[in-house]
Amino acid sequence: MSKVYINGTGCISPQNTIDKQWFFESLAPAQEDYFNAIEPSYKEFIAPNLLRRMGRAIKMGVAAGNIALQEANVTQVDAIITGTGLGCFEDSERFLLALVNNDEQFLTPTSFIQSTHNTVGAQIGLIMKCHAYNYTYVHRGFSFESAMIDALMLFKEGKQKILIGGIEEHTPTYVQLIRKANKLQAPPHPIWASTSKGIQLSEGSTFFVLENQRTNSTLACLLDVQTLYKPKTSTDVLEKLHLFLKSHRLDISQIDVCVMGFSGDVDFDKILQELLPTIKQSSSVVAFKNACGEYHTASAFALYTASKIIKHQIIPDTLAIENKKPTEIKYTLIINQYLGINYSFTLLSNC
């Protein structure tokens, strides 16, 4: 198979990622124990008659998709694949509360329709009049990884241009509830050496245009993705990592930058904390959840981070755990974890 090129990104996150020039110069802090995404003015991207119905997840998704397509200068694709853990939660919550509060009466269809998990992918398809393959993955910390794995298969099946993205939104009530369940804390410093429990719940939407050819806007190449479900120990993960890299005739020492999904929760980060000493022996290491917070599809933000690092050939100080100042950043590896259950490896290279 020819390579898979990342040719456009669109990112709405708690950071100033709407600004194309921004490159992790300084990081916006969390709102105490959670992050809100910084949203653009949607009128630029979405027609008012559509906008009036959309919840935030849909708006963030359609806008980020649009930005990625613009950056890649692509107007039609062979597949649209999205990942989302909670889907259009705001609309689900709205319909649910209306249902409970009015004893199943006077309900209107709009929030029900929009609450369907595949609404973002469907809306993008509808707006683009794209009749191609349209999938939505909804599996926790594997939602975006599943989208990437699918996209890589589709390229092997002969597809040329694919739009993929990860979308997550939270609501004020949801944040309150997660806090009530003792799952949140203010970010520990540094995030990769946490000794206490709790994440910073977050949200965002990150899209990518993948193509089978290099263009002027190419950032990096996506080589491979693998998921690990409930690995028991860091030895398990390391063993799987060796095999994963070996299938690309690589070993850990050849990884220039490792992007690691430390969430700031001591239990969930346990395996990554144990892996860190081994990895930083030979590779530079960066965090990313100190920038984007934790959510089901934070790995889409990790892919954004990794692609930008390869493009700029710079390791940002704001993310650096270990900076070996490599002369060339060739191979970049993302190791993510979600709640200590869903682990994944994503391998990128320069092109």
Binding site: R52, R53, F106, P109
Partner: protein, 85 residues
Amino acid sequence: MDALIEKLKGQIIEQLNLAEVKPEDINPEAPLFGDGLGLDSIDALELIVLLEKYYGIKIQDPKDGKTIFQSVKTMAEYIKSQGKA
């Protein structure tokens, strides 16, 4: 009748989240669907709920909406004909 039309305009804007539209922009005789306000079949279902919620009128068959929701004026006339205004 005019008061009912004005009230309806406000309710339609709210129900359909027509943030860009002001009551004075809506011509009571202009078509709601297609060219006029550009509403669609989902809006029709929203309008059915509007009639139930504010006027206690239940429409069983969504097809009946076609004649009732031609314009704000036809909606007002329908509400009157049902003795609900």
